[in-house]
C-alpha cells in the first residue's frame, strides 16, 4: 500500500453511511530503531466530511496566524476527525470501511 491508496479515498461506516474522504494520514515514530529515527507506524486517518484538500498545517492548534487564513482553513475543514488505524475494518477497491466500533477522535494536534 502507498499513501495515494488512502488519500482522498471515500470513507463509509459499517452501515454504509458516508463519512467523508481521507484528508491526511498520521504517523507515530515508535517502531524499530532505524539509522536516524525509529521506523514510522501508521497511527490513523484524518477524515473530512467536506473537503479532501490539505489542512496546510493548521491542524496544529497553536498555529493561529495569519488569523484570516488559519480560521478559513479550520472552517473549511470543520467536522474533520481522526480514526485509529485499528478502527479501519477493510479497504475495498474504491472505499475504506470502518469497523462497527470505531470512535471519532479530535483531529487537532495540540502543542
Amino acid at each position: 500500500m502507498i499513501l495515494s491508496d488512502l488519500l482522498t479515498r471515500p470513507v463509509i461506516d459499517a452501515h454504509g453511511h458516508s463519512l467523508g474522504r481521507v484528508l491526511d494520514v498520521r504517523f507515530v515514530i515508535d517502531g524499530a530503531p532505524g539509522q536516524l529515527l525509529a521506523e514510522a507506524r501508521l497511527a490513523g486517518l484524518i477524515i473530512s466530511p467536506r473537503a479532501a484538500t490539505s489542512f496546510l498545517g493548521y491542524e496544529r492548534t497553536d498555529e493561529k496566524s495569519p488569523w484570516l487564513i488559519a480560521s478559513y482553513l479550520r472552517w473549511r475543514h470543520r467536522g474533520s476527525f481522526f480514526v485509529r488505524w485499528e478502527d479501519v475494518d477493510r479497504l475495498t477497491s474504491t472505499r475504506i470501511v470502518l469497523a462497527r466500533s470505531y470512535r471519532k477522535r479530535s483531529a487537532a494536534l495540540p502543542d
Binding site: 490539505s54 498545517g57 498555529e63 496566524s65 495569519p66 484570516l68
Partner: protein, 409 residues
C-alpha cells in the same frame, strides 16, 4: 567601519540588482503611453516585493534553509507542485527574456544582431555560474547596474515641467488615446514586473548560499528596505524619461534603443555609454539570478543537493537543470522571437502566477516550528494579507484583460 561598508555594499547591490529587463521595458512602455499615470503601481509593487522578500530572507536566515525546501516539506507535494509549476515556468519565460535583454543591450553597444549575441551571452552566463563565487557575481553585476542612475540624472537634464509630472503621478487619469482596459492591463504588467517571483526564491536561496544566520537579519532587512525602494525610484525615473521624451512624439517602445533614447537626448554619447553598461549589467545580473532560480526551485523541490557553495560535481543535477534552461532560452530566441515581446508577456504571466508563489511563503513565515520567535508580526501579516488580495485580483483580471486589449495593443 567594515560593517558599514558591508551594509553599503549590500544596499548598492540591491539597488543595481533591482532592475531587470522587465522593469526596463515595462516602465518605458508605460511612460511612453500613459505618462506618469501608472507610477503608483511601481510604488505599490515595491512595497509588495519588500514585504515578501524580507519575509523569505528571514525564513532563510532563521531556518538555514531555502523557502522552497520548506514549502515542499511543510505544505506537501500537491501544493508544492502547483507552486513549482507556476514559478518554474514563469521563471523560464523570464530567463528567456533576460537572455534576450542581454543580447539587445549588447546590440546597442556593437550593432551586431541580437540573435548572434544570444549564444555568446548564454555561454557567458553559464561560465559565471560554473566558476565565479556567489558574492563576487552578485556584487559586480549589482554595482555595474548602478550605472542606470543615469536615468535619474537624465530626468533633471531634460528640464521637465515638474508640476505636470508630479500632477500626473499624484492624480492619475487614463490618457485620451488609451482605454481603461489597456490602463489596467499595463497596471498589472507593471505590478508583475516589480514583484517577479524569481526575486523571492533567489533572495532566500541566496541567503543560504551566503550562510546567513540570525545575526545577518538586520543587514538583510536594510538591503531590502533601502535598496529595493531606491531601485524602484530608478524604475520611476525610466518612466519619467519616457514621459518627457517619447510620449509627446508618440514614439512606441519596441526595443531597448527607444528605452535609452531619452538619455541620449539628455546627455549625449557619454550618457548612452552609462546606459549601455547599466543595461548589460542589469540584464546579465538578472539572467544569472533567473538561471540560478531555475536550478534552485527544481533542486529544492526534489531534494537534490544544490548551491553554488558546493563544487559543481557535488551538485550535478542542479547544474544540469540550469544548463538545460539556458539551452531552452537559446532555442526560443533562435527562432527570432522578439525579446521585448517575450518580456511583456513574461511580466503579465508573472502577475498571473503570483498567488501561487506568495501564499506559501506567507504560511511558512508564520510557522513556529521553523521560525521560532521570528515568525511574522501582526503588522507584517496584515500588510501581506492585503497584498495577497491585490495579487489575487491582479492574477484573475490579467487573462481577461489580455484578451480584451489584445495584449495591450
Amino acid at each position: 567601519m567594515k560593517q558599514l561598508l558591508a551594509v553599503a555594499l549590500g544596499v548598492l547591490t540591491a539597488i543595481g540588482g533591482f532592475l531587470d529587463i522587465g522593469d526596463l521595458v515595462t516602465s518605458s512602455v508605460v511612460g511612453s503611453r500613459f505618462g506618469m499615470a501608472l507610477v503608483w503601481v511601481i510604488v505599490l509593487g515595491v512595497i509588495g516585493i519588500c514585504v515578501f522578500a524580507q519575509m523569505s530572507g528571514r525564513v532563510a536566515a532563521i531556518s538555514g534553509r531555502a523557502t522552497f525546501e520548506i514549502i515542499r516539506e511543510r505544505l506537501g507535494a500537491r501544493m508544492a507542485v502547483a507552486n513549482l509549476g507556476a514559478s518554474f515556468l514563469i521563471n523560464l519565460l523570464t530567463l528567456t527574456a533576460e537572455v534576450g535583454g542581454v543580447a539587445l543591450a549588447l546590440q546597442l553597444a556593437s550593432s551586431i544582431e541580437p540573435t548572434l549575441w544570444v549564444p555568446v551571452a548564454a555561454f557567458a552566463v553559464w561560465l559565471v555560474i560554473w566558476r565565479v563565487k556567489f558574492s563576487i557575481m552578485e556584487n559586480v553585476t549589482g554595482l555595474l547596474g548602478l550605472s542606470l542612475i543615469v536615468f535619474a540624472v537624465a530626468v533633471f537634464l531634460l528640464h521637465p515641467d515638474w508640476a505636470s509630472l508630479t500632477g500626473q503621478a499624484m492624480s492619475p487619469s487614463v490618457p485620451a488615446t488609451e482605454t481603461g482596459a489597456t490602463y489596467w492591463y499595463y497596471a498589472i504588467a507593471l505590478f508583475g514586473s516589480a514583484m517577479t517571483p524569481y526575486e523571492v526564491f533567489f533572495f532566500s536561496s541566496g541567503g543560504v548560499e551566503e550562510k546567513w544566520t540570525k545575526k545577518d537579519l538586520g543587514q538583510s532587512r536594510v538591503n531590502v528596505l533601502v535598496g529595493f525602494p531606491l531601485g524602484g525610484i530608478l524604475s520611476i525615473a525610466i518612466a519619467a524619461c519616457a514621459t518627457i521624451v517619447l510620449l509627446p512624439q508618440g514614439i512606441q517602445v519596441t526595443s531597448l534603443s527607444q528605452v535609452a533614447l531619452p538619455v541620449s537626448e539628455a546627455g549625449g554619447k557619454l550618457a548612452v555609454a552609462f546606459v549601455i553598461v547599466g543595461m548589460v549589467a542589469a540584464t546579465f545580473g538578472a539572467t544569472l539570478e533567473t538561471t540560478l532560480s531555475s536550478g534552485y526551485t527544481i533542486a529544492q523541490f526534489f531534494g537534490w543537493s544544490w548551491g553554488k557553495f558546493r563544487r559543481p560535481i557535488k551538485a550535478a543535477r542542479f547544474h544540469l537543470v540550469m544548463i538545460l534552461c539556458l539551452l531552452f532560452a537559446i532555442g526560443v530566441l533562435a527562432t527570432g522571437a522578439d525579446p521585448v515581446m517575450i518580456t511583456e508577456y513574461s511580466v503579465v504571466f508573472s502577475a498571473i502566477a503570483l498567488p501561487l508563489t506568495y501564499l506559501p511563503i506567507l504560511l511558512v513565515a508564520n510557522d513556529k516550528q521553523y521560525m521560532g520567535d521570528e515568525v511574522n508580526g501582526r503588522a507584517t501579516n496584515a500588510v501581506a494579507l492585503a497584498f495577497l488580495v491585490i495579487i489575487v485580483v491582479a492574477s484573475l483580471a490579467a487573462i481577461p484583460l489580455m484578451i480584451i486589449t489584445g495584449a495591450g495593443a
